[in-house]
Amino acid sequence: MSDYDVIVIGAGIGGLCAGALLAHQGRKVLVLEQAERVGGCCSTYELNGYRIDIGASIIEFPQVINWAFERMGTTFRKEVDLIAVDPTFTARLHDGTEITFPIDLEKTKEEIRKLAPEDVRGWEAYAKEMDGFLKAALDGFFVTPARSLWDVCKLFAKTPSLLKYGSLFFGSYEGVLRKHLKNEKLLEALSFHSFYCGLPPAILPGHFSMIPYAEHAGIYYARGGMIGIPLGFQKCGQRKGMEVRLNATVEKVLVEDRTAKAVKLSDGTVISAKVIVSDINSKTLYTEMIDQNNLSWLARAGYKSYRYSMATPMIYLCLDYAPPLKDHHTLMTVPMQQMNDYWFDQYEKGRFPAEQFGILSWTTRSDPSLAPAGHHIIAVTLAPGPYRLVGTTWDKEKETIKQNVIKYLESKYLPGLRDHIVHADFSTPVDFERRLRSPEGAIYALRQDLTNAMMFRPSAKSKQIKRLYLVGASTHPGGGVPTVTASAMIASDLIAQYES
């Protein structure tokens, strides 16, 4: 007799959504979270009256998240107070030029006409291709398992229109943009979105080039902080009896006869369940938390071969003035080739310069209640940060790097910044690892190129251990708030099918 029907390891978006969906299937669910709060990368902490988002700063593809809530008889908007964000972003280019992308596509076209009149038709062609691809992808891709070649064939059979866009999967993000657009400034403005999926424009698969277009369907912020989304799933689950235990670190998944039976916590407690769902990095799960004798040698080689996704150092600035920005998201960009070169010449060689590109997320622009009256918060998402710095460590360099980056931000983007900082916190890749139990600070768990995608990404239903399921960024379809929500829907469907 098991203690629970389902134990979920990790209360990130994927874990809580899966837990809630399984509770709604009538199962007795326990969610175990090692941290003191839920949400993982999509969470918010409080500091002296400021509510600061740890990672995710915006909601894209809200319809995917809504599907999960609809399965529980409610809606995203009923459970989470959503604030519409418009424009999608302003890009401040390396030469000081600014371009804004309003939600309205016609208005965006006018903005493009001002900056790059020669690319208006190219933008229209890009928008048309991405619109068709998105419709097909949302239908077939997001919530369909892709565990095997057969699954992938079924996926394309279910949505044959996806075949029309097959070339997107085998080209690069940069290749797709360059197919339609010629103006280097416009390309620069649209380049940084590739890092939303963890890779530079040169090597990120082309289908991700739909992201800048997809934002025009609407992007949102959760009032009170991004933790509102995981809390929404938690509330839904708790209505059906789901339990959430914080500060409970799972050390091992106990396996007998290649079947997951229980988890062992760091305090020695053993809790059994009929099904185990893991929302932690699957490489960590399989290489550190499961007895290796339960895995085939080929699978062991596979798990070891995965490369972690990039880490993103972040600076959280609490300010006593309204920063001289216009929008929720301001992208600090450099030319596309420079972003690619940064990846190969700096990031992969363990260097992290103070001259940065990234995102300024002015969260109090959308929700002033996050800070005391008249005060503001900017979360600065910096360029990918190498986990291992050459010749030094993040802990040694943390304060120096923070000050140098702030000085750079002041000189280029936020004049007078240092006179208005009430508090500045810097989260390095090592801090992310400690805080979120995310190995090497990887924010998207595993890399998201073709060799780590679909049937080549760890399977939602374990191919090695019976009654073990995966959700979160390290399984199909990958990292990001809507995609990990989709992974939870996939896992709950598979559990309904195989663990009745």
Partner: protein, 45 residues
């Protein structure tokens, strides 16, 4: 001997084709090729 010649011609064509690619296209292909040996073990995960 004929087979060797055909392989050499194909390889030569591929090298010339690769040389004409842009820097970022080469980076894309290099990244895929570096990971290709792991595809079989990854399929079993």
């Amino acid at each position: 001997m004929k087979a060797v010649r055909i392989i050499a011609v194909i390889a030569g064509c591929l090298v010339i084709l690769y040389a004409t690619l842009t820097k970022s296209r080469k980076q894309f292909i290099k990244n895929l090729l570096s990971q290709a040996p792991y595809l079989i073990p990854r399929y079993f995960t």
